[in-house]
């Protein structure tokens, strides 16, 4: 069955530390890949997405993600986190199965210590 795995459920970092959140999916066909973020008290919103072209994509607030097709991965990175990056991060994969179906990972809660 198709699935999305996020390796870390909780991450605690100090400000200025580097961040990498893992995301792997199980599906051999065409995919579109997303990272969504939910800041405390706010709606889910798009951080970045990949659907074709350069596998290294840049999003808002200094985030980037790299699609590695051979590893079925789409890891999220940020070189230096800020306290305001405290949020929950969701990886989502949209599968082309004839129609389009979106599967979310379980999410990673990031807490950045000031």
């Amino acid at each position: 069955a198709q699935s999305v795995s996020q390796h870390n459920h909780h991450v605690i970092l100090s400000e200025a530390a580097s961040l990498e959140l893992g995301c792997n999916y199980s599906y051999g066909g065409t995919v579109n890949l997303f990272w969504y973020v939910q800041y405390p008290g706010q709606h889910l919103q798009l951080l970045l997405k990949y659907f074709s072209g350069d596998p290294l994509v840049k999003g808002i607030k200094g985030f980037e993600a790299e699609f590695i097709k051979s590893k079925f991965s789409f890891n999220l990175r940020k070189p230096s986190v800020q306290w305001s990056d405290t949020a929950e991060y969701f990886c989502a994969v949209n599968l082309n199965t004839g129609g389009f179906k979106t599967i979310f990972g379980a999410g990673t809660r990031l807490f950045v210590k000031a």
């Binding site: 709606h43 889910l44 919103q45 798009l46 969701f90 129609g99 389009f100 979106t102 379980a106 999410g107």
Partner: protein, 115 residues
């Protein structure tokens, strides 16, 4: 641009009661999604509409859940009768396109507690 609106924001009911949630997507968005997010998990797609037609309802428990999108705009999701395991946040999202690379815009969700 107004975002996705949902109501109510919170609902507490007893098991075996019925409940309905309402969603108003962003104006002009053709695709509307309902997700169920249980505590500690990611959103799980329940049903996806394109205009007023159902694209995917494979994970909708059809014995108790129903959804409609009249005139391709607003949508309602109903649970009848509710079970304890239905306690979750119900998210509505919309997107402007019909392809898989379109950003989904999410509403604030309805937090349902079933006692």
């Amino acid at each position: 641009e107004a975002g996705v609106a949902q109501s109510p924001r919170y609902k507490i009911i007893e098991k075996r009661q019925s409940v309905a949630f309402w969603c108003n997507p962003i104006s002009g968005h053709a695709t509307l999604y309902w997700y169920q997010q249980i505590l500690g998990q990611g959103p799980k797609l329940l049903i996806q509409f394109q205009n007023n037609g159902v694209v995917d309802d494979s994970q909708l428990p059809k014995d108790r859940f129903s959804a409609e999108r009249l005139k391709g705009v607003d949508s309602t999701l109903k649970i009848q009768p509710a079970k304890l395991e239905d306690s979750a946040v119900y998210l509505c999202a919309s997107s402007g396109g019909t392809g898989g690379n379109n950003e989904q815009f999410f509403g604030p969700g309805t937090r349902l507690t079933v006692l």
